[in-house]
């Protein structure tokens, strides 16, 4: 049954959509960094995100401040990402399909590990921010705005890293042309390692943000990962700018569809957009060949 259009409902839907888009953007960026460098579609990215959420929960439940826990989880998961690249993915890097299979295997390993350590039940994290902002008739939990603001800070930091630092430039150069980068003296193996660590770090931050909003449980990463992949293709696989744009499109349309249309519409729209973009503009919103990492 249709809900009457009103400004308050629209405003709520937009704020909720922006929060969704923030998480999707972080997930898609993590996938993009790894795919752009290694041509591996890392299906275990969701489990890495989940690990970030659980480590955050574990630290907070030991009386650590949420923000310290977010940084702590990011450090742990980043180190894990680097280790995974070195130990698991590098030996199979010459054949990307093997990397994909390895990532599927990692899902099972992480899933059982997480269940073994934390069990199947939902873990509730005490919200670090309980303040609710009121704009007219719209009530917006400040924690949602913090996720949006935090994502903007992370994106700005990522941009500075990619465009202003030596390591970031090496990463972009390797993504554009690995052989040329190697000939220029860039240690491409180390760059791969950096890319995986960076992808894991972004996943962990997304996991911490999700833990702030929702109960931590084994299925927490399922929807963000699925949407992350859709965003990745919609935005243009390998393009960080495309990942952000794609996340905004998916997050906002889903949220508005739920508020004004129906849940079924919200589920169908992302796939409809995906189908349209694959037919009309297969390279995605941002053309990867010219825009990738540039």
């Amino acid at each position: 049954m249709p809900i009457t259009m009103n400004a308050d409902l629209l405003a709520s839907a937009i704020v909720n959509g922006l929060m969704l888009a923030s998480v999707y953007a972080l997930v898609a960026l993590g996938l993009t960094v790894v795919f752009g460098l290694l041509d591996i579609v890392n299906f275990a990215h969701g489990q890495i995100l989940l690990l970030g959420a659980y480590v955050t929960f574990a630290l907070v439940s030991h009386q650590v401040s949420f923000w310290v826990a977010l940084v702590g989880a990011a450090l742990v998961v980043t180190a894990l990402g680097a280790a995974l690249e070195r130990v698991v993915f590098r030996p199979v890097e010459r054949i990307p399909i093997n990397g994909l299979l390895v990532s599927i295997g990692l899902i099972a390993i992480f899933r059982d590990l997480i269940r073994g350590v934390w069990g199947p039940d939902q873990k509730l994290l005490a919200p670090p921010i309980t303040f609710v902002a009121h704009f007219g008739g719209v009530s917006v939990p400040a924690s949602r705005l913090v996720v949006v603001a935090g994502t903007i800070v992370v994106l700005a930091g990522l941009s500075v890293f990619l465009y202003r630092t030596r390591a970031g430039k090496a990463l972009r150069a390797t993504a554009q042309n690995r052989t040329a980068a190697a000939l220029m003296g860039i240690p491409t193996n180390r760059v791969n390692n950096l890319a995986f660590a960076l992808g894991a770090c972004l996943a962990s931050i997304a996991g911490s943000f999700l833990a702030m909003q929702f109960p931590v449980e084994p299925a927490l990463a399922d929807t963000p990962l699925l949407m992350g992949f859709i965003v990745l293709i919609l935005g243009g696989a390998g393009s960080p700018v495309g990942a952000v744009l794609g996340a905004l499109v998916i997050g906002l349309t889903q949220s508005v569809a739920i508020a004004f249309g129906s849940s079924e519409a919200a589920q169908v729209i992302p796939f409809l957009l995906l189908a349209v973009i694959l037919f009309v503009r297969p390279e995605g919103i941002v053309r990867v060949s010219s825009e990738r990492w540039v």
Binding site: M1, I3, L9, A13, N16, A219, L226, A259, S263, A266
Partner: protein, 404 residues
Amino acid sequence: MIRLETGGGFGMRLIRSSGVMLLTAILAAACGGGSSAPSGPVKTITIGANVEATGPAASIGSQWRDGVKLGISVLDGQGPFTVKGQQYKIVADIQDSAGDPQQAITINQSFTRNNYPVILGPGVSTVFGAAFPSITGNDVVVLSPAATVGQYLSKPEGKYLFHTHIADDGNTGRVFKMTKAIVAKYSPTKAAVLLPQDPIGELYGAAYKSALSASNVSLVYDQRFPSAQRDFSSYIAAIKAAGPDVIFTPYLNTWAVPFLAQAIQVGYTSPLFVGSPGTSSSTIAGKSDQIKRFVWSVTTRATESTTDTQVADFRTRYKALFGKDADANTFWTLSYYDEVLMLPKVFQLAGSVTDPKAITDAYKKVTQWQGKTLNLTFDSANSAVYTPQLAFMENGTVTYQDAK
């Protein structure tokens, strides 16, 4: 070299007479003692339990597993029972499907290959829906709490199938009765229903719609969400805009807990919130300061209650076996507990430990058994009959009421 001497003095006679007495005692023990006791060794009946102890439904499936374990441990304590002069004991082969339908099929088929006379589970509707058809045609009694069991009960393939929860569908089911009772108590005029997109969601949704319509309550919002959904903020905004005075929430804590938490986040706490069957006091734990009124239907019986004499024995046994008190989620263990405890009586009444028809008929006749917790019987359609409980939490205080 050791040599055995014959004859001899008092010492030797003492040894010889002691040996004779010992031999007599051994022979007497081997013969089973008194003439009225059953003869022969105690035979073992193995039942199968196909549970979702890990995987997405682990929080419920692990309780189902514990219900079987507890039931078997109680039976162990009662000792062997006799069917037609033969002594038996019951053991359970508990297998975890991890909520994977394919694994559940494999487990069910291995149970039937082993000729187990009784199978418990699977309990998750979608898993049951996949696994049960894989063993239809086999002579085995199956008991399951899955909401989709009902659709098989009237069919030939469901002749040995039992539903261990009371029915939720139609105008006579629990959801319909619960809704009518809530409408009678609180007199709402506008209602909202939010349920997952799955067979139970559809079942409950239809029953809510029917009961609300029969009570002249306007259904102003009715949506189904994908099961992976955890962000309900946009749903809550839309519900708030529709302005209901009663909201029927999703049926599992997986969804109901974040739903209520997100409603509290935006200060939407004034309507009456009703937890669909499957929720419990754990759904509202830590939220009663904000949400003042929460009503739910207990799926089996509130085992957390320390004042309910009906669950007192269960609570004692539960703590003895698992080393912890029964809590708000332990009510799921009762989906199988009594069904396991009934088994000795069922086999005795059936006069068989293998005949599925006799076992099925016996299950419907048993009314008393040791350790009885749910006031349970099975009707002629193989569906459980017991009095459901409604729980009312108002201003932090919970009261239970049998919903007649």
